[in-house]
Symmetry: C2
Subunit: 351 residues, 2 copies
């Protein structure tokens, strides 16, 4: 916080709080927040949850009752932090509820605000080896589950049927489903398709983007394939997307700005004439949350560092035809990107 | 909005948007919001999700790409709404991410802000008969599931074992688990206990607070009981809490301020000497969300109206001994409160 010139950090009941303090207080509409200054750390706490959260922390609580509301406890807590409410830099948890954040800002009339990019999010993005082990184990479960999904493909099945196979595989290895997107045919051209009732026919593209959670950490991977004899255009697009992944992997080195990874992938796709069909950034960080810092976007000048974990997931989306996306999660080592998955990225042909 | 003097309503990818527009856009860190003025309604939309959301709505989209960010599209959208960014009243979705709300406020330097209490939340709190039917069906499934949990109690079981019985019952009736809190013994004194590994012994209190989701609507009910021969103090506390529920039910009439319902329940408990042990408000509204307007708190002067649906759930929490809470969901009719559950509130004795 000192390096970043932040006088006060305020976290809601989000993954920031779980990661930093190991706390998961009941998060409803009642304001519950951790305040951290250079001098003090304490929590605004609804009295009805104080006893159960007390089992997990010694942090001081500033409690409030439903019939009085949080204003007075919030004032006490701000006073305890020692900050000057009329002149300070506050870093707010970007993912907490809007009404929590605005309540804090109303109580700090002189606040210059930022979010946690420079503090908590930056710390979260530097993974340790224990986190590597959880992410790696989770990625390998995901490899097996996604392949179980491809192996189960039969004509007439729905996307939901395939998702059930993948979910059952997760459960069989003691993992929880994080999300499963199964896209048949033209549904693959929707980057965030909701798995539905579309049925598999011969000569359809199949895209599976899925992840589970294991030992507290998620996985996230996409493989693309075809049911039947693949359309030559499809194979051409797959090779372009594979080239984009390879370029982004090669560009991944500590010290390189995130935008250069995006440019490496995007350059290959643009060169092949599909630039307008690559609708999103190249990737996102992944840790206890599925999307977190560092974001691999053309707008990010943030230099990558060892221990960063992020996706490389270029895609080409052809409306009414198919989509191709290939996604890897990488752990950045001093010498470059280590891919967590052990599956090839070649198109998965079944049927 | 006109009645409430609101010039612009801004909703995030929350239940407000699901309820009002039937839309459930992919909600991640990318700003996606619906803007509604008197003259215009349109969405700020990440381009990668535009095609899939377009399947569900004709609303105009103001799209933005990951590498450019949302600022320019947001400016266009605000211009399209016709509001004066230097002078307006904006109602913000209180539950959306802090960074979404602050981005909007930064683009509206003259905004006086409020949340949706007077607009979307107020409309959501007036339930229709179709909503009644879903809530009633869901409450009856919950009745059977909670009793299945009590009936399964055996010495040595963990709280999690009982939760699994309840979850299996939900699934057997085609409902999804919303939440299940099973509290053995002194755990019942934590208002929001996390169901855990505590094992059932003879002469323990048992509190089960659970709800499922069915036809899009949730249920939420608490029953309290005892495994073995109940402690006389326990039965005394149960009768106090039952008196509080009865008083709140009797006080529930259209036009009565919410605080009067809270006072009716709290009065009975305070009179019996347990006032300091009733740690929370008497209840909360329930609709597509488990907690929504109207909140039944000593601080709320909001008059109740026909079609309001809310919980009445007074409790007495005795640290290191037990907790008693009895919770009903009521649908407010012109003549008074209709309780959705058909279970008695008498203590459930097993063992």
């Amino acid at each position: 916080m000192q390096e970043e010139g932040v006088d006060l950090t305020v976290l809601g009941p989000t993954n920031h709080l779980r990661w930093l303090a190991g706390l998961d207080p009941h998060g409803d509409e009642r304001p519950v927040m951790l305040f951290i200054s250079q001098a003090y750390a304490g929590m605004l706490m609804p009295v009805l949850n104080a006893a159960s959260v007390r089992q997990h922390t010694d942090l001081p609580f500033h409690t409030w009752r439903d019939d009085e509301g949080p204003a007075s406890a919030l004032g006490d807590l701000i006073a305890a932090t020692g900050v000057d409410p009329a002149n300070l830099n506050v870093a707010l948890d970007e993912g907490m509820r809007a009404d929590f954040a605005l309540r804090v800002l109303d109580a700090l009339p002189g606040a210059r605000r930022t979010f946690t990019h420079g503090t908590v999010s930056a710390l979260r993005s530097e993974k340790e080896e224990t986190e590597y082990r959880a992410l790696k184990a989770c990625a390998l479960i995901n490899d097996r589950a996604v392949m179980a999904g491809f192996d189960a493909l039969r004509e007439g099945m729905t996307e939901k049927d395939v998702a059930e196979v993948i979910a059952a595989h997760y459960a069989s290895e003691g993992a929880e489903t994080e999300f499963i997107s199964v896209c048949f045919g033209a549904n693959g051209a929707f980057c965030h398709h909701h798995t539905g009732e579309t049925r598999l026919r011969r000569d359809m593209a199949v895209l599976i983007d899925a992840g589970c959670r294991y030992m507290g950490y998620p996985s996230d991977m996409t493989r693309s394939g075809w049911f039947g004899a693949p359309d030559p255009d499809y194979l051409k697009v797959v090779s372009v997307v594979e080239g984009a992944v390879a370029a982004a992997l090669a560009a991944s080195k500590p010290g390189v700005p995130a935008r250069d990874i995006d440019r490496a992938a995007r350059g290959v796709i643009t060169e092949a004439g599909y630039g307008p069909n690559f609708l999103h950034r190249t990737g996102h960080g992944l840790g206890i949350e599925l999307h977190e810092e560092p974001y691999i976007s053309g707008a990010s000048e943030r230099p990558l560092g060892p221990g960063n974990v992020y996706s490389i997931e270029p895609g080409v989306y052809l409306a009414d035809r198919f989509g191709v996306r290939l996604e890897e999660i990488v752990f950045l080592r001093p010498e470059g990107a280590e891919v967590l998955s052990e599956l090839p990225r070649t198109p998965v042909i079944r049927g």
